[in-house]
């Protein structure tokens, strides 16, 4: 038995038509085909999805937590960026 581990894959599932794929977790697999099948077996056993994407984890570039101050804090006091200053006409229930 080889001690070398298979690469890690991130799994995205689309739960139904019209919704976007959502990250649900990760798993190990030797190649993309196997990753999709493993994702099917691990993450869609209870009819959770109709489509699967897998991406090798090391292909994902992530923001650096150390940059959080500069990245995310400046938007916290910019409430005018939220569309909350409009009067929603009567009869529109979902906006």
């Amino acid at each position: 038995m080889s001690s070398k581990e298979w690469p890690l894959w991130e799994v995205f599932i689309r739960s139904k038509q019209g919704l976007s794929h959502k990250h649900v977790g990760s798993l190990r697999a030797a190649d993309a085909t196997m990753a999709i099948e493993n994702a099917r077996d691990v993450y869609t056993r209870r009819s959770e999805g109709i489509s699967i994407w897998v991406v090798e984890s090391n292909m994902v570039s992530a923001s650096d937590p150390l940059d959080s101050d500069a990245f995310f804090e400046p938007s916290e006091d910019k409430i005018y960026r939220h569309p909350t200053f409009y009067d929603v006409p009567d009869g529109i229930s979902h906006m």
Binding site: W6, A29, A30, M34, E37, N38, R40, D41, V42
Partner: protein, 252 residues
């Protein structure tokens, strides 16, 4: 023999294959080589046991509810089981498990495809539902054959050994007797001989792709369909039927 009696025997053969293989694969639960494969095998096991449930229910109705589907599964002895010898073979290792599965899935896919147009509507419906599951099982086992065959020196050696070992049980998948003849005449059963060429063709293609040798031994063993089993089945049944034997009529 009445058509109903013949059909009962025919349905039982299909059900027994599913149940015994399902139970065999269930032995992997918690012991899979990796977590993902553990779940994959358990899913396949549950698919097979689900197929068996549908078929035993049908069989039970065919014999006027003399026995329930549970009684058919848990209260028959080995001589009354008509599964093929292939499916009762021990798991041994992952390679043996995959090899057994591969030969069986390749057969089952062709079988259910044909059975889906049976004149018996109930059988056709069960076949159609099971076919979807079987297609995935075959994809899974075929890819593993290729991965192991075309993998490392060790994986190739072991999967080749398993492929050679199980070869002698493959002819029995195409076993037919007077039961089949009677039902084939009514367009209920499938002439299994008509599936053999396609089965062989598929198996050879995948083995080639896996860079594995096609087994050349011609000795074939059969008997399972008539209740003559290897010693392995008794142990499997002892474990599977234990609860119902120890606590008769137990339900949960």
């Amino acid at each position: 023999m009445t058509v109903k009696e013949a059909l009962f025997t025919y349905v039982l053969r299909i059900a027994d294959d599913s149940l015994i293989l399902g139970q065999r694969i269930a032995e992997w639960c918690g012991h899979g080589p990796i977590l993902e494969e553990d779940i994959a095998l358990t899913n396949i096991s549950l698919d097979l046991i689900g197929q068996a449930t549908n078929l035993y229910q049908f069989a039970s109705e065919l014999e006027e509810n003399k026995r329930t589907e549970d009684q058919l599964a848990f209260l028959r002895v080995d001589r009354e089981f008509s599964n093929a010898l292939l499916v009762e073979q021990p798991n041994k290792d992952f390679g043996f498990t995959i090899s057994r599965q591969f030969y069986f899935d390749a057969f089952r896919k062709l079988f259910f495809e044909a059975l889906a147009s049976s004149k018996d509507e109930r059988l056709a419906a069960i076949a159609e539902k099971s076919l979807k599951e079987t297609k995935y099982h075959l994809k899974h086992s075929s890819e593993w054959i290729i991965r192991l065959g075309d993998g490392t020196e060790e994986s190739k050696k072991r999967i080749q050994e398993a492929i050679n070992f199980h070869w002698k049980f493959t002819d029995e998948l195409f076993f037919q007797n007077e039961i089949d003849t009677q039902l084939i005449d009514l367009d209920i059963a499938i002439p299994l001989t008509s599936l053999k060429a396609n089965w062989l063709n598929y198996v050879v293609t995948v083995l080639h792709q896996a860079t594995l040798e096609i087994p050349t031994n011609t000795f074939q063993q059969e008997g399972g369909r008539l209740g003559f089993h290897s010693e392995h089945l008794g142990y499997l049944l002892a474990e599977m039927q234990y609860m119902q034997r120890a606590f008769p009529n137990l339900e949960w």
